[in-house]
């Protein structure tokens, strides 16, 4: 057992570090506490501009499409190299939260189902950050039950005409393209009647409306489709195969989702050590110490679980299901840490004025955005179902809607 890179991995890591040192500030050397590095503020155009510049630099240096084929401008590298890049980049202050969906889900699904012409046209601009992609999946009545979606696509000549509504679409307001799953046949059971496309977000008939979140931020949107024409040439997979294509996308999403961003063990540990209460620093309290220990072992458990995943990748094996636990554990942990950080402050915990609250009110901010992390990209409940069914081999839920045509399904008031 060791944590050593192979000579090839070490050489790649050195190359990555040299690139990052030249182009970004190390977090440990950052001059002041830098809350914004963790909380991407997507509603600020400067964030998007900075992210685009950073993405172009990465692409020029060969770190944007690490595992993608050289033919489309990628590096032709290995999954281990991708992991190494991620490990190193997280030590630096770089813009995040703009390209993850496009590069982590949309382009990969295009690579599986797109034509060479699609790839020639779309991969490079996405990789260079010139074009941003979003994922048009969830709907007001289809979240965890994605296959219950209602947005209709009807064939009309060489086009499809799309009507309906998507929701929770991160980054739709600054995206150029989106991947879109629609219902093309309501008279067959729900999974069988779906078809997958990609769509130009500037198409006539698309309207994007911002959603204001608990946290006050607006990272995601509602997207309305009114007689939007999508050429059949932008269909991915066969008509009626939309569920299969969606699943491919969601599998890459769960691998791409990392730790929940926000205050972690190191931060609550630092707060507990520096916060002077009447009886001394908060960390002297046994109850506080027990809480800290619980978060430490969860944090480390996730870290070393990733090391196990990386070992499997490094040996050319497919990582086991252990990769699926990261988001489930880290999102709840973040919510708990944020809540306890506020508790430590006592009555002053109610203040989220960044001039007054410790760490520029990072714990208070995190408390308010943490609920979203337990829902987005597969809710806690869906992730537990996935672990139970795919890892433990327990029976699938009984689906009373399985053999019923979609048009005859019961619907609720919400």
């Amino acid at each position: 057992m060791d944590f050593e890179d192979t000579p090839e991995e070490a050489a790649f890591r050195a190359e990555v570090r040299a690139f990052l040192d030249r182009n970004a500030e190390r977090k440990s050397e950052a001059k002041s506490f830098h809350r914004g590095r963790y909380i991407p503020e997507h509603n600020i155009p400067e964030t998007v501009r900075a992210a685009k510049q950073w993405q172009a630099k990465k692409a020029d240096a060969g770190f944007a499409g690490i595992t993608w084929p050289r033919q489309w401008g990628g590096r032709g590298g290995t999954p281990v190299q991708q992991v190494i890049y991620g490990q190193e980049e997280q030590n630096y202050v770089v813009p995040r939260g703009v390209f993850e969906i496009g590069l982590g889900m949309c382009i990969p699904v295009l690579m599986v189902y797109g034509t060479p012409e699609h790839l020639e046209r779309h991969v490079r601009p996405a990789m260079r950050g010139e074009e941003i992609w979003c994922q048009l999946f969830s709907e007001p009545s289809a979240g965890s039950d994605l296959a219950g979606l209602r947005t209709r696509a009807v064939r009309d000549g060489d086009d499809w005409v799309v009507n309906g509504q998507k929701i929770w679409t991160s980054g739709a307001h600054f995206s150029n393209y989106g991947i879109l799953v629609t219902r093309t046949d309501p008279d067959v059971p729900k999974h069988a009647g779906l078809t997958f496309f990609f769509v130009d977000m500037k198409s006539p008939g698309i309207e994007v409306r911002r959603i204001k979140q608990i946290s006050g931020g607006s990272n995601f949107n509602e997207v309305f489709f009114t007689d939007v024409r999508v050429p059949d040439s932008q269909r991915l997979g066969k008509v009626g195969d939309g569920w299969k294509v969606s699943i491919t996308t969601l599998m890459t999403e769960r691998l791409a989702v990392g730790d929940a961003p926000g205050p972690d063990f190191d931060d609550i540990f630092a707060l507990a050590r520096t916060l002077e209460l009447d009886a001394g620093p908060a960390i002297r309290n046994p109850a506080v110490r027990e809480k800290l220990a619980d978060w430490y072992v969860k944090t480390q458990g996730l870290k070393y679980t990733k090391f196990r995943t990386m070992t499997a990748l490094s040996r050319g094996e497919t990582p086991g299901p252990e990769a699926s636990i990261t988001k489930l554990v880290s999102a709840s942990k973040l919510q708990d840490i944020a809540s306890y950080g506020i508790d430590l402050l006592g009555m002053a915990g109610a203040v989220m004025d960044p001039e007054v609250a410790p760490m520029q009110a990072w714990f208070q901010e995190a408390l308010l955005y943490a609920p979203g992390l337990r829902i987005a990209g597969g809710s806690d409940e869906i992730l537990r179902n996935i672990i139970a069914e795919r890892v433990l081999g327990l029976p699938a839920d009984i689906r009373i809607d399985k053999d019923v045509p979609f048009s005859q399904l019961k619907t609720g008031k919400r």
Binding site: M1, V80, P286, A293, D294, L394, P395, I398
Partner: protein, 370 residues
């Protein structure tokens, strides 16, 4: 990155799984649970015959020199099979004490016999209620003779000798003490897990041979407990894994309301949580294995983290295994309680979670001094 056991050790794991599934089956574990014998002597001889008692002992002393990661692999299987033998007492604690603190002569005298299983050792430290940081050592040594009471002593009835913490010079030191001496009174205590012996040892002027430097007994014990914490964490992970497998199997075979109970989310989500806790514990234990096998400076932190994580996982897995089995899980006949008992027994061995959590944070404070 090579954060996994080698192929050789994976083969060892398979071999151990097969061996123990035959020789430490629930049926044979129950013989110890319900019978008079304090441990399974036949299994002990079998394990010795495989060379596993000396897994981490150098060849010079008759060991198999598989390294500590080899011992970790075996520990996981011992936990999985609930092996009713004094493996932890004699190997993780007594053999390790001699390896860590013994003179060359002491190693040559004791280790070969520990490796063959001919002699069984244990650690006698506790003197009543309390965690390792709260033990006020009353047992004392004067003129080379030990007097005092130790309670509980794991496998105390079985062991031939003990590594005893006693006050010699105003500070605690370690001593090797032959438990066959007539001045030793052994009393078996009713154990939370009867498949693992607990005893009270009373010493009256028993010859005691110093082990390690005088006055450093508590530091040595802490070092020993750190090492044992990693190994016991592997036993706990093995136990948790076994509970998860039992619960999973039962949930697919047991039908209620016309369907397997494992198709209900109340069961699925519960077992998903057990899986997550077990995997986190496994990953922490792996880091402990790395620290132990490379004598890393991070060992105290790695050991405490492995211990905390594994204690939590085994407790969760064992209680939810009972719960998944419903009323049947609460019966003596079902094997669930074997794991439920063992989980709590291992949670108390070498100190309970509050102690290890405090130790973990203390070590983190030390390593990250402001």
């Amino acid at each position: 990155m090579n954060f996994d056991f080698s192929d050789d050790l994976k083969l060892l794991r398979e071999q151990a799984r097969k061996f123990l599934s035959e020789k430490s089956s629930p049926k044979s574990v129950r013989k110890i649970l319900e019978g008079a014998a304090p441990y399974d002597a036949e299994l002990w001889r079998g394990v010795a015959g495989m060379g596993w008692l000396g897994a981490a002992v150098p060849e010079t002393y008759g060991g198999a020199a598989l390294g500590y990661d080899g011992l970790c692999v075996l520990a996981e299987e011992m936990g999985h099979a609930l092996a009713p033998i004094p493996f932890s007492s004699s190997i993780y604690l007594a053999s390790e004490a001699i390896l860590v603190a013994g003179t060359e002569a002491q190693k040559r005298t004791h280790l070969p016999k520990l490796v063959t299983g001919e002699r069984i050792g244990t650690l006698a430290f506790a003197e009543g209620a309390g965690n390792p940081d709260a033990v006020r050592v009353q047992a004392h040594v004067a003129n080379g003779k030990l007097s005092g009471t130790k309670l509980p002593v794991a496998d105390g009835e079985i062991a031939d000798f003990a590594v005893v913490a006693a006050d010699g010079t105003g500070k605690a030191s370690l001593y090797l003490v032959d438990l066959r001496d007539p001045g030793v009174t052994k009393t078996s205590l009713k154990s939370l897990d009867p498949t693992r012996n607990q005893a009270k040892l009373v010493f009256r002027d028993v010859p005691a041979e110093p082990l390690g430097p005088a006055g450093q007994g508590l530091d040595l014990i802490q070092a020993l407990l750190d090492r044992a914490a990693v190994l016991i964490a592997f036993e706990q992970v093995g136990g948790a894994q076994a509970c998860l497998e039992m619960a999973r199997t039962y949930a697919t075979e047991r039908y209620a309301f016309g369907r397997p109970i494992g198709s209900f989310q109340a069961i699925k989500h519960k077992l998903a949580d057990v899986y997550v806790a077990t995997e986190l514990a496994r990953s922490n234990a792996y880091y402990g294995a790395w620290a132990l096998s490379t004598s890393a400076a991070e060992l105290p932190i790695a050991a405490a983290a492995a211990r905390v994580s594994a204690t939590d996982a085994f407790h969760l897995a064992s209680k939810e295994n009972v719960q998944t089995h419903g009323g049947m899980g609460f019966t003596w006949e079902a094997d669930c309680h074997l794991y439920y008992r063992r989980a709590k027994l291992l949670a108390t061995a070498i100190g309970t979670a509050p102690y290890w959590k405090d130790r973990l944070i203390s070590e983190l404070e030390r390593r990250n001094a402001p």
